[in-house]
Symmetry: C3
Subunit: 316 residues, 3 copies
Amino acid sequence: MAPRLSALGRIILMTTLLIAASTTAFAARYPSYGMLTTKTTPAGVMTVVINNTFSSINLFDAHVQSDLANLIEELQANDTDVRVVLFESGNPEFFISHIDVNYFFPGYEDPLPHFDPGLQNMTFPTALLWNITQLPQATIAVIEGRARGIGNEFLMSCDMRFASLSPSVLLAQLETSFGLNPGAGGAMYLSRLIGRGLTFEYVFASKDIDAATAERYGWINRAFLTSAELREYVQQLAARIALFPRGGIIGTKQGINAVSRPSMDVLIRDAQNVIDALAATPAPFALSQNFLKATHNQSLGDLELNYGTELESLFK
Amino acid sequence: MAPRLSALGRIILMTTLLIAASTTAFAARYPSYGMLTTKTTPAGVMTVVINNTFSSINLFDAHVQSDLANLIEELQANDTDVRVVLFESGNPEFFISHIDVNYFFPGYEDPLPHFDPGLQNMTFPTALLWNITQLPQATIAVIEGRARGIGNEFLMSCDMRFASLSPSVLLAQLETSFGLNPGAGGAMYLSRLIGRGLTFEYVFASKDIDAATAERYGWINRAFLTSAELREYVQQLAARIALFPRGGIIGTKQGINAVSRPSMDVLIRDAQNVIDALAATPAPFALSQNFLKATHNQSLGDLELNYGTELESLFK
Amino acid sequence: MAPRLSALGRIILMTTLLIAASTTAFAARYPSYGMLTTKTTPAGVMTVVINNTFSSINLFDAHVQSDLANLIEELQANDTDVRVVLFESGNPEFFISHIDVNYFFPGYEDPLPHFDPGLQNMTFPTALLWNITQLPQATIAVIEGRARGIGNEFLMSCDMRFASLSPSVLLAQLETSFGLNPGAGGAMYLSRLIGRGLTFEYVFASKDIDAATAERYGWINRAFLTSAELREYVQQLAARIALFPRGGIIGTKQGINAVSRPSMDVLIRDAQNVIDALAATPAPFALSQNFLKATHNQSLGDLELNYGTELESLFK
C-alpha cells in the first residue's frame, strides 16, 4: 500500500529491508522497512514505536503494515518473555494518520497480498488488526498525536487506550466523508466503547474527538494532563500486568473477545466487504482524488492536521 | 390503532386522507391523515414534524403510524435527494406520548394490518420502527417534550438523539408498570446506550429520565440549554452529514446495525411476542382500563404529563 | 467448597443444617447452614442478608453456595409473593470476598456436586449465578464492603447494583493475578457495563475500583454518600417495582437478557471451561498456595482487605 515508487525508491526499500532483516533473529515473512523500533524490559514489557520515515504523517502504508505483520507474527510465536505490548508513535503530530488512500485506486500495485494468507477472506490490513486482538499479550496504545480511519481502528484493536490531553490528540473514523465505511470494523468496535448513538454521530459526521471527550465517552480509557503522567501511568499498569502468568491474560482475553468483539463473519460481511464494494463506486474515487491533490499526496499540512474542521473544503 | 371512531369521525378522516393524498406525488400505501409536515432543504436535509391533531398528547395512534409508514416507504425509495432526516414534534409537551392503549384491548378494530405486509411475523408498529433503523438516510430525533413507551422506542430507532434541557423532556419505558414489557425492543436498544444495569433500573421502575441525566448516561447524544442551541447544533450536524455520498451512510449503518441492533429474530421472540402474550393476561388489561379512566382516554392532564411521579396513584 | 473439615466441624455443620431446615417449610435440596437471613415485606420485597459465620471475610464457600442454591430454588418456585429481592451483607468489610481458593486444588472434597444437576455442563457456582439472572423477581445488590472475583460476579448476576461511598466498597475481578480468568463470566458482564476498553484494564490488572469510580463508569448504578441514603433509595426503588405485576418483570428481563447477557454456550466455552483448564496448570496452583499462606487460609488481614494494592507482595 505504498505510494507507487520510483526505481530508486524501490532500491532504498530493498536496502532498508536487508539491513532490518539482519538485526533480528526472527525470520520475517514480509519485507522489513525499519518502521518499528522495539525495546523489551526484563519484566516482559515491550514498547513498539511506530515511525514511518517515508511519511511526514505516519501514514499506514505498506511499509508500516509489512513491519507490523512481521512483529505480530513474532509476538504470536513468543511464548515466554513478553506479557504486555505498548504501541507508541515516533511522530509527535500523528499516532497513525490513516490508510494510504492510493490503496483504493485501480492500478495500485500492492506489495502485500490482497488477502491475508492466514485468515481466509480477510484483506491484509483487516487481518493485521484482527490479529492484534488475538495476541497472547496485553496490548496498550499510548496516544500522542492524531489517529483517524484505520489509525483509530488500530487503536481499537488494542486492548486498552490511553492518551495525553495534548491538542494533537484527535481521533476519528473519517470514512463516511469519503463515501466509504470503516472497513476494518471501526464503527463496530466503537459501538462497544461509546454506545450506538454516539457511534452514529461520530462516524456519520467523520468528526474529530479530543482526548478529554474521548475519555468521558469511554473511547479511550483515560487522558492525562502531561505526557509524563501518561507514560508513568502506562508503565505502572504494564509492569503490574506483566507480573501475572501468561495463561490468565490469554484466557481473560478469550472471554472478553467472545462478547465484545465483532465476530469474524460479521466483520468481513458488514464492514470489509462493504468498503470494498463502495470503493469501486465513482463518488469515493473522486473524493479521494480531491483529497490527494489537496494534501499533496498525504503530506503534512492543514488538511491532514485538522481534517475534522477542514474537510468541508473538499466539497466546495 | 385509533380510538374507535364515530361515523362522522370516519368521514373526517377520509376527507383528510383525500386532501393529504392530493398534495403529494407519492402513491401512499396507507391512509394519510396529515399528521406529518415535511420540508426538505436543497442540501438534502428533511425535517419531519409529528403533530397528531387528533390528540392533545401526540399519541402514537393509527393516524400517526399510518402517515409514518407512508413516509418511510417514500424514504426507502428515495435514491438521490434526502441524506438526513430530522424528526421533531409539533406538540411542545410531547414528542410522542406513548402507544394508543386501546391497541391492546380485545375488540379493537385496527385500521392497519396487525402484521406488517413486508416483514414476516412483525407487527405493524414494531416493523415501522425497525424500518426506521434501515433507512438509507441518517436519522436524528430532535427532542422537546415527553417520549414514553413506544415514544422512547421511536427515539431509539433513530440513529441519534438530541434534546433541550427543558423540563418537558422526560423519557421512559413505562411498560413494566402495566405488567407488560417494551414490545418493540426498547429495553434492548437501551442496553446498547446506557448498559445492562441502568436499563434494568429505568425499565423495571418505569422511571422518567430528564435530559441532563439522559445525556450523562448516553441515552441521548447531547442536551442543550436552549431550544435555539439544540436546533443550531442539529442543523450543522445534519448539513455536514448531507455533504457526504449516500453510499457511506448506508454502508456505515449496515455495520453499526450488525453489532448494536437486536437481531430481528431476537426482537420478535424476546420482545414483541412477549408483550403480545402478556397483553392477553388479566393484570395489564385491568391496569390499562384504570389508566384510560384516569386520563380520560389519554387526554392532557397530570397523569400524562407526570407519569413517572404520578403512576403510583394507579395502584391505590 | 468448604475448607476440609474436622470430624467435629462436620457434626456442627450437620446440626446447623437440621436446625435451619426445621425453620422453613421449603424442602431444601442442599444442606442448609444458616448463612442467609431473609425477611419479606407484605409488599413483596425480600431482603437477604449474606453472613458466612464460618468466615471472617464472607467467603463464597460451600456453605454460602449451598444456602444460596436453596434460596434460588425457592424463589424460582415462588409464584405470587416476592417481586423484588435485595441482597446485602452481614459483614461490614466484605459483601463477598471471593471464592474459597481451596476449590481449585486437587483433592478438594466438594460437598456440592461439581456440575449443576439442572444446567448441563455448568459447574455448580457458575450455574448458581446464572440462575440468579433468570429469577422471576427483580434483583438488587446493596453493596457495603468488598466484592472481588466471584463476589463481583455475584453482584453482576443481579439486575442492579447500588453502593455506599464507604472506603470499604472495593470491587474487582482478580483472577488474572492468579493466572486465571473470571470463570463465571465476570469479564463478559463487565463489558456490558463499562465497555470493552475499561474491562480489559480492570480485569487484566486485577485492579480494585471504588464506589465513586464504579458509578462513573456504570459498573454500579449509583453510589450514595451514606448508608442511610443508600438504603432509603433502594427501599423506594424496590417498593415501586413491587407494585407492578409479576409478568412485566419476567417479560422485561427476558428481553434484556437476550441482548446483554452472554449466551450460555459462550459462558461455558469462553469463561468456565477456560478457568477449569487454567486451574490445572502449575502457575495458578503455586500462586494460590502463596495466597493461602499469606492470608492464613483466607483470614481477615491486610492482604484480604487491600488486595488491589497489596497483591504485588505475592510476586516477590
